[in-house]
């Protein structure tokens, strides 16, 4: 490849439309602002596994994924920013950017523990609770 071709290719690449990638900060910050989450959400997040164990699981319940319109980028105040970063730091898994509600943030960790290889399509389409119940039932059946 000549130098001229190289420059042309590079410029063609620059001109190419780049799809907007799903950004975990943007997603969680939007949720924090939309649901007006406060610091106490972090303590709820700490106790999430306790809540899910035992009778809290109702197998008959199937929830729909909440639709959500994200802004292209989020700017947060200092409090919102620190809460967002704390949530990201605590959960820290690949499913978090697909959470569309605070309930899904809570289920993110347990779902990831059950099956860390769910596809993006599934995560985008189904509510985490539904996925969790499905994975939980699958795991029980295997046992």
């Amino acid at each position: 490849m000549t130098f001229l071709q190289h420059i042309r290719n590079e410029r063609a690449q620059q001109r190419k439309k780049k799809p907007l990638k799903r950004d975990v900060f943007n997603q969680i910050c939007s949720l924090v602002r939309e649901y007006d989450l406060k610091e106490n959400f972090l303590s709820v997040l700490d106790n999430v596994e306790v809540d899910l164990s035992g009778d809290n699981l109702k197998f008959t319940r199937v929830r729909l994924k909440t639709s959500m319109e994200n802004s292209l980028f989020s700017l947060a105040t200092k409090d919102e920013y620190s809460l967002t970063m704390s949530i990201i730091g605590k959960v820290d898994n690949a499913y978090l950017k697909f959470a569309n509600s605070p309930a899904e943030i809570l289920l993110c960790g347990p779902l990831y523990c059950l099956n860390p290889s769910l596809t993006n399509q599934k995560l985008m389409r189904y509510h985490f609770e539904t996925l969790f119940l499905h994975e939980y039932a699958k795991a029980n059946r295997e046992i």
Partner: protein
């Protein structure tokens, strides 16, 4: 800006700049960390220190607006609010009439004292001498029937004592402009300060205007009351016509006029020497660009493209001037009048249309109804 001032946010004021609370995302945080790193070189060496980001009470604030700049350009930034505040202010001090501003207008002076004498009959008989400004005003006063109320107004206009008292009152009221103190300010505090600053600006502006108005009125005191009445009438109505010459103030543009001259009835002849009687119209030039002659009325002529009002006259070698002066205005009107009256050549059939019907082109404008 107003959304910010009407919010419940806190602003930081530092060295005549408004700092807004900094909003964060991971990229911005990285930049902030880099900016606030100790031992970092200054942003603009050689320039006075003005920080982009300030940390106050553990919160970051980012430099946003220059207070002086916003205040200086407020008339443009929020024209509606400025006008409203100014109107309120003027109503408060009964200063709503702005005749002085119009009298100060150079365009009107040029039209009245330099363009008009060229087109009107000034002297009777064979006398030919140049008229002074006072004589022109006498002539206007003698030709136009000026309503009595303007004579009354002229008397009050010449009485400057009231204006002097008003000016003194304004001077006493004049607040001293103080920039806001450095530190945290709530939105409503900043808003209140801003309103006071705008008020002070309007006051200063009006003070200047009144000082000028006072000067004009002092000049008027020496003039005859009839002259003052004539000028007030012209300033108020913004239009006048003498001997077919006149001017009228534009509605859309403040301080701009159409200067016109009536052409009168005239006859043009076609290829077969048949006469066509053209009706009267006003050939005008605007004091605002483009400086080209046009016909004010709905009119048709070989040199006008359509049959409608406000059409520019087609003139091949006419180069419009770049500025409005008395000489240019006279030349443009003369050229326009000459073109309409003498420009059409029956042999060459120049212009957009021909007077007689030709079968070469599809006729769009017909002059048969003007045939004598």
């Amino acid at each position: 800006m107003w959304q910010l001032l009407n919010s419940d946010m806190e602003f930081l004021v530092e060295s005549d700049f408004i700092y807004l609370p900094l909003l964060l995302d991971p990229e911005i945080e990285k930049e902030v960390q880099a900016l606030l790193r100790p031992g970092r070189p200054t942003e603009n060496p050689g320039h006075p220190v003005s920080k982009t980001i300030i940390t106050h009470q553990d919160k970051h604030f980012v430099k946003a607006l220059s207070i002086h700049s916003v205040l200086e350009n407020y008339e443009v930034i929020n024209a509606y609010d400025y006008k409203r505040r100014r109107k309120e202010f003027l109503r408060k001090y009964q200063l709503t009439r702005e005749v002085e501003g119009i009298l100060l207008d150079d365009t009107l002076k040029t039209i009245l004292f330099q363009v008009m004498p060229y087109f009107i009959r000034k002297n009777r008989g064979l006398q030919r001498n140049k008229l002074t400004d006072e004589e022109i005003l006498d002539l206007v006063g003698a030709t136009i029937d000026i309503p009595a109320k303007y004579y009354k107004e002229a008397k009050t206009f010449r009485n400057v004592e009231h204006l002097k008292a008003l000016l003194k009152g304004l001077e006493n009221q004049k607040p001293i402009f103080k920039p806001p103190v450095n530190g945290l300010l709530s939105a409503h505090q900043l808003r209140d300060w801003f309103h006071e600053a705008v008020h002070a600006k309007i006051l200063a502006h009006e003070h200047d205007r009144l000082t000028k108005a006072l000067q004009i009125r002092l000049q008027f005191r020496q003039a005859k009351p009839e002259h003052a009445a004539t000028l007030l009438y012209i300033a108020d109505t913004g239009s006048m016509e003498i001997d077919g010459f006149g001017f009228t103030r534009k509605i859309a543009y403040k301080g701009e006029y159409y200067v016109y001259k009536r052409i009168g009835e005239y006859v043009l002849k076609d290829y077969s020497a048949r006469g066509y009687l053209f009706p009267d119209c006003r050939v005008a030039v605007s004091t605002y660009t483009p400086y080209r002659p046009f016909v004010m009325e709905k009119y048709k002529h070989p040199f006008l493209l359509r049959h409608k009002s406000g059409q520019e006259i087609c003139m091949k070698h006419f180069v419009p001037p770049n500025e409005f002066t008395a000489e240019n205005a006279i030349r443009i009107l003369e050229e326009g009048l000459t073109a309409l009256r003498y420009g059409y050549d029956a042999r060459r059939r120049n212009g957009y249309h021909t007077l007689e019907r030709t079968w070469v082109y599809i006729p769009t404008i017909d002059f048969e109804d003007y045939r004598i």
